[in-house]
Symmetry: C2
Subunit: 384 residues, 2 copies
């Protein structure tokens, strides 16, 4: 029986984690959850489990929950996330699922590493922005950090039983996003509605846009470099329209191991929760008689400039990655608010990264300050 501490319970990854826990009550015990401000959803989840702790954003919401769940510790704000991430420090089989969205997810990862807790990571900012801090901390602590993202989870599966030293290259597949068949010229005229129409699946708005610009894939390259301790020049993105192969590992003998599955996040979540054992789950099998064809195309870096920018930001290191993430977050928001065009997203992010003077090894406080500064700057310029 493993205890699950779940940050971001009301998002897509959070809800699917809960689904797996409910399907397997003998294997997992949900101990604590956090949510932003979706009180109804939090109350619904909390009434199905005997929770030790619930964390919400605002004290006001916390007070409501305190009246409903008198046996449960209710906490709030950043301090609440910290309490949740470090609850029961002696629980060696405990697992923190970090499914928070945004910069807020970085600090709880750090705190959980410090109590040697196993972390299942869906929060992108943890590694995209804080990768250097996380890597250093993981070397000092016994904590294990496992990826929930389907691409990194695929690489983790492909590496099973293999020696990291024999890895030659990671091949990360990309759907190509909503606009994969459009030229740069055609991109000038795309609308918000077009951009939200992902070819393979439905996701949140932010990640759907990040998929169309391939900023998302750029973030994944950075995450992969930190997760698997591999140089960026040995990580290759490739466009694979069907998204059946979730990623691959090429070894030094030029043998490639690929992981394939349906598009169903419950598979990587379940794999990580049960690791090192596999268990029958909720994901349907693949049928190659139906699939019939898999396609591959090289990535055109001129077509997807943010992908190259991510590589550049990683290689320049330090605070550049914080700027990349912050600028992109605000640019996508502005696009979703219909204040800028699709191609403006790229221009804003490129300008921000190029104009930033790098701080080599920024602390958590410096990262947070840069994040705030960049976001405020861009908002100030465009938000009127």
């Amino acid at each position: 029986m493993k205890n699950i501490y779940l940050l971001g319970a009301t998002g897509s990854i959070g809800l699917q984690t809960i689904e797996i826990i409910e399907e397997n009550p003998d294997d997992f015990n949900l101990v604590a959850i956090s949510g932003y401000n979706q009180l109804d959803e939090l109350i619904d989840i909390a009434s199905r489990f005997s929770l030790r702790m619930i964390s919400v954003k605002n004290e006001e919401d916390a007070n409501v929950l305190k009246k409903v769940f008198t046996e449960t510790t209710i906490v709030s704000g950043d301090e609440g996330l910290k309490e949740l991430a470090t609850l029961n420090p002696g629980d060696k089989d405990g697992i923190l699922v970090n499914a928070l969205v945004g910069m807020v997810g970085l600090r709880p990862t750090i705190e959980a590493i410090q109590i040697d807790r196993t972390i299942l990571l869906a929060n992108k900012e943890t590694l995209v922005v804080g990768g250097h801090l996380i890597q250093e901390l993981l070397e000092q602590h016994k904590s294990k950090l496992y990826p929930l993202d389907s691409e990194h989870n695929a690489i983790w599966q492909a590496l099973n039983g293999e020696d990291l030293a024999s890895v030659k290259r990671l091949i990360i597949t990309a759907s190509g996003g909503a606009f994969r068949d459009l030229s740069r010229e055609e991109l000038k005229h795309v609308t918000l509605k077009d951009a939200l129409n992902h070819p393979n699946w439905s996701m949140g708005q932010k990640i759907t846009i990040d998929s169309a610009t391939m900023m998302n894939k750029g973030f994944e390259l950075i995450e992969a470099a930190y997760l698997f301790h591999i140089d960026m020049d040995r990580i290759q993105p490739i466009i694979h329209r069907e998204s059946i192969i979730h990623s691959m590992v090429e070894f030094n003998d030029n043998s490639i191991i690929a992981q394939m599955a349906q598009h169903d996040m419950r598979l990587p979540i379940s794999y990580a929760m049960y690791y090192p054992k596999r268990t029958p789950g909720l994901t349907q099998p693949l049928d190659f008689g139906t699939i019939k064809e898999l396609h591959f195309e090289e990535v055109d870096y001129e077509r997807y400039p943010l992908l190259g920018l991510a590589i550049e930001a990683y290689q320049q290191g330090g605070s550049k990655r914080a700027v990349l993430n912050a600028a992109n977050e605000i640019a996508v928001s502005l696009f979703l608010e219909n204040k800028i065009t699709f191609l403006d997203i790229e221009n804003i992010v490129i300008d921000a990264v190029h104009n930033h003077k790098v701080i080599p090894n920024p602390s958590l406080e410096e990262i947070i300050a840069i994040d705030k500064e960049i976001k405020t700057q861009i908002r100030f310029e465009y938000d009127r």
Copy 2:
């Protein structure tokens, strides 16, 4: 440094094994080789190494070799193969590569298992015909049996680090052979020349014909069942024209791990020789920008009756598999001699298997007797 004892040195697998040894003189030492009657090739190989033993088919050839290599033990016949397979029984790092073609390969595998020697297996008859004997012996001895065949080698790689108990299905890929685009009706008129024209690579004549009838794939299903201790109904063949994915494993969570590489037997041979470590070798990397597409089709068992027959022969067990192999061997010979049509191959094998009264658990002697009897019978009927 591992000592290599090589059965079938002058065939394709044998020569590629020698190529790997010569490329890696610090890792491997070629100790002994066998060949049928290609004296020139054997002399050529033997003059590049300091061999302890050479085994040939005939005493006459042995006498020639004795005069050329006075420091080397020269042996001949079945007894010679036995001596080679069991040379230096105390050599715990020794590896027997069994690349013999035909029934003659079964006995040396048995003898090597009995001295706990690691065996790299390319000889199909060992498992197709003798699988039940081999499986029993492996349970009693410490010997490891590893596959060189690209499909089984791929499954072995995909299983690396995984628990066999979590395997749901093995998916074995098949090119479909030279006639994959022809109907049964069109098959009536194909010639020997057509049949020898394999779409993906050039191999020996026998295996090219076995590929066109999919008898070869049927044999591989039987081998996989024995190698990976899995029921036949959990092994699925699938047509994959490009032969880039060499095979796949589906786990109980419906995740699939696939192994891909160029068509180059030096990769599986090298993987097996170096196992459990991977080493840069002679095989070129895959380039997905060039590959562009992978295709899959379900297998039509009416189109390929020998595939279904192999499954049937495996399930009925015992001596049926010996009949399947013997009848096919003679039928293919008759076709190569232009004495029967392509579709006659299937009819001869189907008739032989169906007419045979099964012996449940045949001994090696019984297998050899059945093999001889079936071959003589069919030869007698058609060879005039």
